[in-house]
Amino acid sequence: MLASVSTVWSALPAYAQSTAWIVVITVALIISVALLTLWERKVIGWIQLRRGPNRVRIFGLLPGVGQPFADVVKLLLKEVIIPVRANKVLFVLAPALALIPAFATWAVIPLSPELVVANIDAGLLYVLSLTSVGVYGIILAGWAANSKYAFLGAMRSAAQIVAYEIAMGFALVGVLMVSGSLNLGTIVRTQHGGPLSWNWFWLLPLTVVYFISGLAETNRAPFDVAEGESEIVAGFHVEYSGIAFALFFLAEYANMILISALTSVFFFGGWLSPLDGYLPEGGAAADFLMAPSFFWLGLKIFVFLFLFLWLRATFPRYRYDQIMRLGWKVLIPITLIWIAVEMVMSYNHVGPWAT
């Protein structure tokens, strides 16, 4: 049975195989987002000494597992209200514009040593350009709704994302200098050789800067001024209801998973195993744990997602001027200094350049 499936699979043309993978990855992402919302509410509940969602079950599984699916059904059945004075075309288009880049970026992310949907040379540039396009959904949602609160949220978010994109880009320049390639698969491969040869060790400041910028790019706490409830109700999506609101929700959580995946790929060795060479040879379990595989990438993504939730439960929201100060006056100088440090290291053949 399995053998016949694999022969049929390899007989398929390349475009059919990529299409199949695109469908699989998209569906997996949507399910991950559903489970991530549940996990977020559970984790924050535990941190705040509550239980979190614990009523809806499916198939008698753990209590609470059905909660995200019940939420989806609720949001699907609710009425989608389009404000009278809104710009209808852009109002409907905005959620799609927020969602598409969050999914399209997964095309170039190497999920395992063999599996990447589009193995393109300029993968890092592709990632940067698509993540910068994601801001259009937020700006247009804020403008098209024709509401003061929504517009304020959109303006805050646009300024914030443009500011933090620069720090993000400079942090990736550091990664580029180590790997000498824009291809994400090559970037992972140049980090081989145990956790200490992953990029985070020599690029620790850039790693921190990248993750903080990722938090700001996804509008997550403590940088969630775009939807700060206590100040501007719900920010850019205040006029959205039902499934249109759910699409913004989906885009935000898909972006969280994306930033976690990118942090793992750029700084934490992607699908490389942290135990490589540390376990005794032989035995199926040891072989599996030492081999590079999707398992390790998934585990790293999970750890960073937990960090996202942990930060949200711990820190209060930044004041807007402090966000701007952090982005322009702290993070960007740090990246510039570290790029200069890398220049010196590479000239003297230290660290990743020691060959």
């Binding site: 040379d121 350009s129 700006i139 646009a158 300024a159 443009v162 994109e165 100060r325």
Partner: protein, 200 residues
């Protein structure tokens, strides 16, 4: 065959979007059509295997420049009548620009007639060819000085723009972030013994 079909599809979208930029009355719509024409021209550049230029076009123009542009356009309260008044007065400038652009396009398209063949022909590059790497190696060796000169010119422009727009008003109260961060509770609250706090 497929490439030709794709080219004509993208070219049609590009021309329609470019027309919509100048026709549409709403400035936000015009800006968004400009975004669409940038994205479509990036797609056309991908067809001639200039992937670096295509992606950077999206990264710089769509991701940064147009976001800021949209940002400003959205906040403007544009009165259409006021702009219509100047329309005929500056029409001659528009015509000159249009004629210049048409002459340039004709010149590029018919360049082969004058014996300066700058196009490479239709033969695709081998799979190992990296557009980004080729561009980088030319830019940082052959054209290192012009490249750095361009960078300095941009830097000067940034400094000049900031210098022109910053104004310091006298008596302006500013926040000192270090003082804000380093503040202690003893700086703000002073505990005093109340007069009748005799009994424990």
């Amino acid at each position: 065959m497929l490439v030709e079909v794709l080219f004509y599809v993208f070219a049609t979208i590009l021309i329609a979007a470019a027309l919509a930029v100048i026709i549409s009355k709403n400035p936000v719509h015009a800006a968004l059509f400009l975004v669409l024409s940038f994205v479509t021209s990036a797609a056309i550049w991908l067809l001639i295997e200039a992937e670096f230029l295509a992606i950077v076009l999206v990264l710089v123009y769509v991701g940064a420049v147009m976001v800021l542009f949209l940002f400003v356009v959205m906040m403007l309260d544009i009165k259409v009548e006021e702009h219509r008044r100047g329309f005929t007065r500056y029409a001659w400038l528009g015509w000159i620009t249009a004629v210049a652009v048409i002459v340039e396009i004709v010149g590029v398209v018919t360049a082969r007639r004058f014996g300066v063949d700058i196009t490479r022909g239709a033969a695709p590059w081998p799979a190992s060819y990296s557009n980004t790497q080729a561009l980088g190696s030319v830019l940082y060796t052959h054209y290192a000085y012009p490249f750095e000169l361009a960078a300095v010119v941009l830097l000067v422009a940034i400094v000049a723009a900031i210098a022109l727009t910053t104004r310091t008003r006298r008596g302006l109260k500013r926040q000192d972030i270090n003082r804000q961060v380093n503040v202690q509770s003893t700086d703000r609250v002073r505990l005093v013994k109340s007069m009748d706090a005799k009994s424990p």
